[in-house]
């Protein structure tokens, strides 16, 4: 059980990076600009190096993950607060592993893309990059935790670096946005804390734990709770996750936060942090409270469909690029939640894959929008026009990421979106049909934005806009390559996700709906498949 502590080390690498960055001595105020620049570059290179080490380390770890092995692998467990049965327990299944993978891929990309974002802030460059690395540790921790209390600690702690990243280094009404973000999250977190404690108390009354309270996920899944208790505890967790995810009507903090955050911070928020919400819905809401999960399914599906359509419609009406992308995420999170609550293999696998794909696609388009905004100094779509003529690389990559947002087949997002829709349709036809309208709205918000910003005659204010630089290309091109590769050949990732989904499904005694008129395998296979 306690072999090599892979996950602890994976989380510790960025933390060590943060320390290393902070230990770089600051120069006195009156130093020569050249020295200051060299020093800040050292800080950035250090941060980038540690994020890359974490990436390589996690890749090595992933290759050692066995898709036929036990559900949770790389497990570690140490008693932390024995009085309350709190453990430092880590472990990942396929779902958590791919989310950690996404986190460590996005981090060097974001660091590279944010190279100059903190240069003009009043706070120090060191702090900004240290905060990012601390955030990475927290995010690895939150996905890897298999003790509910530990999860809660990471869940709350990751707010702190993000609060400072928005509040101190953001733009526009950043403090307003940061405080709003914090208050929403904290209130959700408080509800969850109540539920976490209650879970401990109920676990202590259960024979499954030998009447010892515990927070260990592996034990809690065996605790049977009365339906009423399940419903209350479910709500405690669910509202926290729905705020994080964000699900309509808990979404209003998101546009402000994505507007005020620097592009890099916004990518970490939309791409990774918010996934903790949907991840939590699978891991905790579903696995710990399956009866309540089913009870609330009609309601949640309704909210998910509203999110999909409402987020897309409001996105169409935005005049700011950043807000527009923020609202598209409301729509996309609706798809993820839809897939989770459809409770089919396709929906669950699709939703998990969606979390990863959304991270890359939204990451790419947000960073590209950020590069564009940094050149022109405005985030209003109307201030652009004809960018394709002056900066074809920027526009071309922006288009590919935009096509990923609208889930074009051949790009990764299509795979996950179609799995979610098909998985939902097989059980909830009406919900899936409404959700399908979202693909039309997605075409409108992406292509209309593209037309206004990139097409048409070259507007005077962008006529001198330089195209992407090597650093910016190095940040975005890997994401685009992943988007295409995972669209054409998603099997390697699905192979990691599928066993975890099957295990979850059997854990909660759910089976896929049987086709009304199943075609015997031999016929369906004859047109194509091989053994």
């Amino acid at each position: 059980m306690n072999g090599f502590p892979w996950l602890t080390v994976a989380g510790a690498i960025p933390l060590a990076g943060a320390l290393a960055v902070l230990l770089v001595p600051s120069l006195p105020r009156d130093s020569a600009p050249g020295d200051v620049e060299a020093r800040t570059r050292l800080v950035k290179v250090l941060a980038l190096a540690f994020s890359l080490i974490a990436l390589v380390f996690v890749i090595v770890m992933a290759t050692r993950f066995s898709t036929t092995g036990p559900d949770f692998q790389f497990t570690e467990q140490y008693s932390w607060i024995p009085q309350f049965g709190v453990h430092y327990a880590l472990g990942v299944d396929g779902i958590a592993l791919v989310l950690i993978g996404m986190t460590v891929v996005l981090m060097p990309v974001v660091i590279l893309a944010s190279w100059h974002d903190a240069d003009n802030a009043k706070r120090s460059v060191k702090t900004y990059f240290a905060l990012m690395l601390v955030l990475e540790t927290m995010m690895i921790g939150v996905f890897a935790a298999t003790d509910v209390f530990l999860f809660y600690v990471f869940f709350e702690a990751m707010l702190i670096p993000m609060y400072f990243m928005i509040g101190s280094f953001g733009v526009g009404p950043r403090q307003y946005a940061a405080v709003k973000f914090l208050l929403y999250s904290l209130l959700g977190g408080l509800l969850m804390l109540v539920a976490v404690i209650a879970l401990y108390v109920y676990a202590g009354q259960s024979a499954a734990t030998g009447h010892h309270g515990t927070f260990l996920f592996s034990t809690l899944v065996h605790v049977s709770l009365s339906p009423t208790v399940q419903k209350w505890l479910f709500l405690g967790f669910f509202i926290a996750f729905a705020i994080k995810a964000p699900l309509w009507p808990f979404h209003t903090w998101l546009p402000d936060a994505s507007f005020s955050a620097q592009p890099g911070a916004a990518v970490l928020m939309l791409g990774v942090m918010d996934k903790v919400g949907t991840f939590g819905m699978i891991r905790y809401c579903l696995e710990l409270f399956p009866a309540a999960f089913r009870y609330f399914t009609p309601l949640v599906l309704t909210l998910a469909v509203i999110s999909i359509l409402y987020g897309a419609i409001v996105a169409i009406g935005q005049t700011s690029v950043k807000r527009l992308i923020g609202y598209t995420s409301v729509s996309h999170f609706g798809f993820i939640v839809l897939g989770i609550f459809a409770l089919t293999s396709q929906g669950q696998s699709g939703a998990t894959l969606y979390m990863v794909n959304h991270g890359f696609a939204t990451g790419a388009i947000f960073l590209l929008a950020g590069f564009m905004i940094a050149r022109r100094g405005s985030d209003r779509i109307a201030d652009y026009g004809g960018v394709q003529k002056v900066a074809p690389l920027l526009a071309g990559l922006f288009l590919v990421s935009g096509l990923a947002l609208l889930s074009l087949p051949g790009l990764s997002t299509f795979v996950s979106e179609f799995l979610v829709l098909a998985g939902t349709f097989s059980r909830y036809k009406v919900a899936a049909t409404f959700a399908t309208a979202g693909i039309i709205l997605a075409a409108i918000y992406v292509l209309w934005m593209y037309q206004r910003a990139m097409n048409g005659p070259v507007s005077e204010s962008v006529s001198a806009m330089p195209d992407l630089k090597a650093r910016e290309l190095a940040a975005v091109v890997p994401l685009i390559a992943l988007i295409i590769a995972m669209g054409v050949y998603p099997k390697p990732v699905l192979d990691v996700i599928n066993p975890a989904v099957q295990s979850t499904m059997s854990q909660v005694h759910s089976t896929d709906p049987v086709p009304a008129h199943p075609v015997s395998a031999s016929v369906s296979v004859s047109a194509g498949a091989q053994p």
Binding site: Q175, Y176, V179, L183, Y184, L235, I239, P249, T252, P255, P298, L299, Y310, I313, V314, G317, T344, Q346, S349, G350, G386, Q388, L408, P409, V415, F418, L419, L421, A422, S426, A432, T436, A437, I439, I440, A443, I444, L447, Q451, N455, G456, P457, P490, K491, L494, D495, V501, D512, P513, P515, A516, H517, P518, V519, V523, S524, S526, A527, G528, A529
Partner: protein, 631 residues
């Protein structure tokens, strides 16, 4: 009928996709370095695919018995219960399309070398064209509906990129976006159809659906048929999703020829014919397909009569001709093979007409207004003769292509019996007359009469790289119909896939005869208006009908009032509700009440209340949900 695994030379049929994919990748990723030779690669790859296509065709002919060959490529989306593969189905139907796409496609791409010679972005153009060929081949070769859907959206992307190729023109950018969005409406229908197949049969391979639809009843078949028809309407510009095609003429003319005439827009017909096992179980779905076709063939023809822009008139004609194909597909086994025959013949003559129009534009400073043409026949002899042959083909004069391919559709529509036969057959006959009218009008306005050019225009014949493809297409316009229809060549070739027509049609049928008389009368009528008297250089005011047709029979006006305006209001309302209703209102209220406090405090009190309101709404919904769930 079971499919065979690919053997021999067909085991490498993935080359069909690999050639154009490689071309597109090199040209789009290679950047300026490939500028000098890019167009050569852009021509070579589709040509290589054509050569392989010919080999595959003859290999298939060599299989005397079973001609459905499947090549499994790889497992695309494997999830428990959901197996999506990328696999190719080489059968008579798909091979017809492969030859059309790569053959006519190569000709048009060769022509583009001349047509786009002076465009600084020529390399990118050839990259997009290769992307299109790859996606279109995936569409027709896929052995399951999801892979077909990938090609389906892929051609939509290529179409978007190519309509908007001159994206610095706002009209082109808007037209490209409009085409994609209108197509997406159809695509939503197609993707729902795939979901329904999955829910009903647990599979969406062609053979699986074929097997499943036998047991699932006519209700499911009707639903599938209508959803697929919605997809087909979007892609093939059929009423009610037709309006994008006329605007799509903003793209370079070779694009109009290849994508918006010869191949992509016919994908809807392919989809309906490929789905013949589904249509077989729902007469209502077949009727719906036939009605859409009949309505569109009149609708497009009327629009084509009123347009002075040569490309838009041809676009209206394309809608109309595809209407014939849809009508044929809606008639079941009586019409499938003839729909495909019309589609293949149309690929030749309509591509020829568009390339001819492009040749005229090339010599006339991109002038598209036919009222500014006239007397070009002698100046552009090759263009005018090839155009003229395609003209004879499209209006269906024997022994040119259109006569052979259109008559069986007219006859079969008439033969469907009763009121239905009267209506569908009548529409097809009247449509033939309308076709003759607008095409004769186009001929007369372009090639004959007095010259009405701009003084800056110096019309001249196009270079050989452009005229030779037109010559080859003209040969097809003359001979393709006879080759396909005489001796039931195409009918017998396609029979394993779509079944045989219940009755065989003679070469001369009496509904076809009536149509032919109408064609002659309509051509004479057109001559009376546009040939006997000089054509005014500015359009006359015109009747109510003419004006309606000039405005695309109010297709855009309808979209605008029924969809766009309400959509805009909904968007504005939602944005307002989101920023003011949920959030801002409470913030503002808090700010006003606490006016004397510090800024941060104001904001903070704002949040808590706004939060509270959000939560309140959420709580109300939760309670409402609980009540609903209880019931």
């Amino acid at each position: 009928m079971t499919t065979l695994a690919a053997t021999g030379v067909l085991r490498v049929s993935w080359l069909l996709l690999a050639f154009p994919v490689f071309g597109a990748a090199v040209l789009l990723l290679g950047g300026r370095r490939t500028n000098r030779w890019g167009h050569l690669l852009g021509v070579a790859m589709p040509l290589a695919a054509f050569v392989y296509g010919v080999i595959a065709y003859f290999t298939l002919l060599g299989h005397s018995g079973n001609r459905e060959i499947d090549l499994h490529m790889y497992s695309w989306i494997p999830v428990a219960g959901f197996q999506a593969n990328i696999g190719l189905l080489i059968d008579p139907l798909s091979v017809c399309f492969v030859l059309l796409i790569t053959g006519v496609g190569s000709l048009i791409i060769i022509y583009s070398v001349g047509y786009m010679a002076h465009d600084i972005d020529r390399r990118r153009f050839f990259g997009y064209m290769n992307l299109f060929v790859a996606a279109m081949l995936l569409l027709v070769l896929a052995d399951n509906y999801l892979a077909l859907y990938a090609g389906w959206e892929g051609v939509g992307l290529a179409s978007y990129l190519l309509i908007g190729f001159w994206q610095f023109k706002p009209s082109a950018a808007v037209a490209a976006k409009k085409a994609f969005i209108a197509n997406r409406v159809g695509d939503a229908g197609l993707s729902l159809a795939v979901m329904l197949m999955f829910a009903e049969y647990g599979t969406f391979t062609f053979s699986g659906v074929d097997a499943g639809v036998k047991h699932s009843g006519s209700g499911v078949a009707l639903a599938l048929g209508l959803l697929l028809l919605l997809g087909a309407c979007g892609k093939s510009a059929q009423v009610p999703l037709q309006s994008w095609l006329l605007d799509a003429m903003e793209g370079p003319t070779p694009v109009s020829a290849l994508i918006h005439a010869a191949t992509m827009v016919t994908a809807g017909v392919y989809l309906m014919v490929r789905s013949n096992p589904i249509l077989a179980y729902s007469a209502d779905a077949r009727i719906a397909v036939a009605i859409v076709g009949a309505v569109t063939l009149l609708f497009g023809g009327i629009i084509a009569c009123a347009k002075d822009d040569i490309k838009k008139s041809l676009a209206g004609s394309t809608m109309s001709q595809i209407g014939y194909m849809m009508l044929g597909a809606g008639l079941g086994p009586a019409g499938y093979a003839f729909a495909i025959g019309q589609l293949l013949a149309h690929g030749f003559f309509k591509a020829g007409l568009f390339l001819g129009a492009g040749s005229v534009m090339h010599g006339m400073n991109d002038e598209v207004n036919m009222r500014r043409y006239g007397a070009l026949g002698r100046i552009m002899p090759i263009t005018s003769v090839t155009f003229g042959l395609a003209y004879l083909a499209i209006i269906g004069i024997p022994p040119f292509s259109g006569f052979f391919t259109k008559d069986p559709i007219i006859d079969a529509a008439w033969g469907s019996g009763g009121t239905q036969g009267w209506l569908l057959g009548g529409a097809a006959i009247i449509g033939a007359g309308i076709t003759a009218f607008y095409m004769t009008r186009m001929m007369l306005m372009t090639w004959f009469g007095a010259k009405r050019w701009d003084e800056h225009a110096h019309p001249h014949e196009s270079p050989g790289v452009m005229t030779w493809p037109m010559v080859v297409l003209a040969v097809g316009s003359v001979g393709a119909g006879a080759f396909l229809i005489i001796d039931d060549r195409l009918v017998d070739f396609l029979a394993p896939v779509v079944g045989s027509p219940p009755v065989s049609h003679g070469l001369f049928t009496w509904p076809g005869g009536i149509a032919l008389i109408l064609v002659v009368l309509a051509a004479a009528g057109a001559w009376a208006i546009y040939g006997r008297v000089p054509v005014p250089a500015t359009a006359p005011r015109g009747s109510f009908v003419t004006n309606a047709a000039r405005k695309d029979l109010y297709g855009d006006a309808l979209n605008e009032s029924a969809l766009m305006r309400p959509g805009q209001w909904l968007t504005r309302l939602s944005v307002y509700f989101d920023s003011r209703g949920v959030d801002g209102l409470v913030n503002t209220l808090a700010a006003t009440v606490g006016g004397s406090s510090g800024r941060l405090r104001r904001i903070q009190s704002g949040f808590v209340r706004s939060y509270a309101l959000s939560m309140l709404i959420g709580a109300v919904l939760l309670v409402a949900g609980l009540l609903v769930v209880r019931l």
